[in-house]
Amino acid sequence: METVSVDSLSVSLGFKEFPVIRDVSFTLRSGETLLVLGPTGSGKSTLLLALSGVIPELIVGKVEGDIRIVGHDPASEGLRGIAGDVGIVFQDPEAQIIMDSVFEEVAFPLENFLYPKESIFERVEKCLEDTYLAPYKNEQTDTLSTGLKQRLALASVLCFKPKVLLLDEPTAHIDPKSSLAIYQILRRYKSEGGTIILVEHRLDYLEGLIDKILFLNNGRGILASNFNELLEKIPFESLTQAGIWLPFSTLKNRSELSKPVVDFSRANTTREDSVVMAEKLSVIIDQKAVLKNVSFKVSRGELLIIVGPNGSGKTTLLRVIAGLIKRYSGSVIVLGRRPALSQVAYVSQIPEHQFTERKVIEEVVSGLIAGGLSREKALKVAMKTLEDRGLSHLAESGVYEISQGEKRLISLIEMELLDRPILLLDEPTFGLDLRHTVSVLKWIESMLDKRKTVIMVTHDTWVLPLLNARLIGLSEGKIIFQGFFSDLLKQQRVWEGLNFSPPPVFREAFSSEQIEIAMREMRNAVFSTYDR
């Protein structure tokens, strides 16, 4: 018996005639998982919104074709009609936590579905145990880390035992260990007969979970049962051009490993001319110690990557260096004086926070004009930069209309043009396909070539071997690790504190030589495949 059946589905958004998704068909049985892949902006989220009935009920759009989910027609029944049989989890936990406490959040759907009071208490207790959230039962949701919030969102959905789960990049915002915990929960859900439709860029955690793959590109969908079949149906170049994260083994076989494509020497440059110095830095926010006695230095032209679990103080540290947080103890010196916004360029997790204009070109020139450049000169510089980055076609587009990956690149360019000596990047690769991610990494390298100092926060562990920078590992506000990626691989005792899990390719690399070879192979494979 098919749980999900989609036949010739086409979806248009707004009042546009041109469909975002065209003629997509697939079926899923109970206990099966469909992985939806595609470049940023290919319609993956739109597919989930149509399957959940959000389009056309809450978001204006046209849905054509036939959808059946557990016997429901979402297009006519809407989100309320399918609620109970279908559960939805998005990438942003902030946008889906409703109640004040963990217990209330999990109980919320059960109250709505009119479960008796006694059975709600039983179910919530069981669900909190199954999702490893029992110790947080009485915590306030606002105090939870992002990783815990996402697990809570999943717990709140799983408690009413939906037959189908729709997941839109559920681990995009969270650290590796929290991601592994979420996929462990999903494996159990699948083994109990649950059907999953999953949009995910990060494939590291999906082993043993996927039964079918749907590749969306330019609105068309191609279905395969595994990566090998997908590669038979679609040329390798088309997949990599679309930024699809292929398994490393596939990349390794196809790329030219003999030619090192990226210089490793930068990481070993001597450290002098410190531009950022923190000494015994401590920050207390809402009576909670977020940073405790943090000390480090960053040199001119150096890349420093800050890693650690959600809620460990990474973004707070970045905000102190930016001059956004002024209440701290200890000492922080940036370019010889106290931190100030005028000394740095800061790229936020949410690009929309930066945007001040309507069109892309206006957005890019705005910082230049505010900095004193004439409009004519600013336009020339902006157009030249967009052309250099291959983004000149976006110049006249609206900043809110372009894809999330493109928004991220525009926000980076805008900060680059401020021409500040220090760049602070908060999760610059989150939610991006591999092609856009590689563009961001190349952009970072180009900034280092200009002797800019880059301090970056990331959860994407696979980015670490690609950049090979000095790392700082934060755990509960304290630095518990300083060194390079290769050092981190050898110091397994700090993994627990950092919620770190190495990318699969490094799980068999133990000696320094093995690690270096694996790093070189990975860099060569990724850059030679996706940086074209």
């Binding site: 959940s52 959000v54 809450l58 978001i59 989100l79 309320r80 609620a83 109970g84 279908v86 559960g87 939805i88 998005f90 942003d92 902030e94 946008a95 889906q96 409703i98 109640m99 004040d100 209330e104 109980a107 919320f108 759907p109 059960l110 109250e111 709505n112 579905f113 009119l114 479960y115 008796p116 009071k117 709600i120 208490f121 606002d142 969102a153 709140s156 959905v157 009413f160 930016a322 956004l324 916004l341 005028s342 740095v344 360029a345 800061y346 936020s348 949410i350 929309e352 926070h353 930066q354 945007f355 001040t356 204009e357 309507r358 705005s366 910082g367 505010a370 900095g371 809110y400 401020l418």
Partner: protein, 247 residues
């Protein structure tokens, strides 16, 4: 002492608190004189003291500037426009300013001792408001911290970009409006989807794991507030202090 009192005040049914506060505010507005004002000021200050609210410095600054501005403008109007004697103008001005302060203090007490979810439950269970509407307040309040965070970040980015210039203050406001609206709408849609997909609004009623009820504590609290208000009005008659209808 205050810890126990805070707990007790939190236990009072939100609908009862809302009713008591509304009656008190209307008493000050409709029957104002020095006695009702002093009694209400004392009661509201006591309630705020016992409820121990956490007040952000921006709110305190806002309250202070509102009171100072209101007092100054009212005094100028009384003396220059109406031509009252300075001492009488000051007396009347202070009474009116005290009324604003009393409303603010009662509101602080209510907000500090009432959880949004308890309010939603009480509106549904005691006042029979459909839960979809009573939860609207709750969801709106839920959005405030997120919107505030967005706004703080946006202003910081504009400072970094050099948009915060005294010569062009409108530039900052215009540049914040569009992204803020965009993010608020996006967050609201996501929250709406998250709620509906979890059964919100599917049935006309819902189970409440924590049901609010009217207890003896609520009755005593309401009686105490009403008694104080009646006493203050009675004292006005006894001491022959005229009550003024002041809207």
């Amino acid at each position: 002492m205050t810890g126990k009192s805070t707990e007790l005040l939190r236990k009072i049914n939100p609908v009862v608190k809302l009713f008591a506060v509304t009656v008190a505010v209307f008493t000050v507005a409709l029957f104002q004189n020095i006695i009702t004002t002093i009694v209400n000021l004392a009661v509201s200050l006591l309630l705020v003291f016992l409820s121990r609210p956490k007040i952000h410095k921006f709110i305190l600054t806002g309250v202070a500037s509102t009171l100072i501005g209101y007092t100054w403008v009212t005094y100028v109007l009384f003396t220059l426009n109406i031509g009252l004697e300075p001492s009488l103008a000051l007396y009347k001005t202070l009474l009116l300013s005290a009324r604003i302060l009393i409303i603010i203090l009662y509101s602080m007490f209510f907000v500090a001792t009432t959880g949004p979810q308890e309010l939603a439950s009480a509106l549904t269970l005691q006042l029979k408001v459909p839960y979809i509407y009573s939860y609207m307040t709750f969801v709106t309040l839920r959005m405030f911290p997120l919107v505030r965070r967005d706004l703080e970040n946006m202003v910081a980015f504009r400072k970094m970009k050099g948009y915060l210039k005294l010569s062009r203050p409108w530039q900052l406001i215009i540049s914040v409006a569009a992204p803020l609206l965009y993010l608020v709408v996006r967050r609201s849609v996501m929250l709406g989807i998250a709620m509906e997909s979890r059964g919100f609004g599917r049935y006309p009623s819902r189970t409440f794991i924590e049901e609010t009820t009217i207890t003896i504590l609520d009755v005593l609290f309401l009686l105490a507030v009403i008694l104080l208000l009646i006493l203050s009005i009675s004292a006005s008659f006894i001491f022959k202090v005229p009550l003024e209808l002041s809207l």
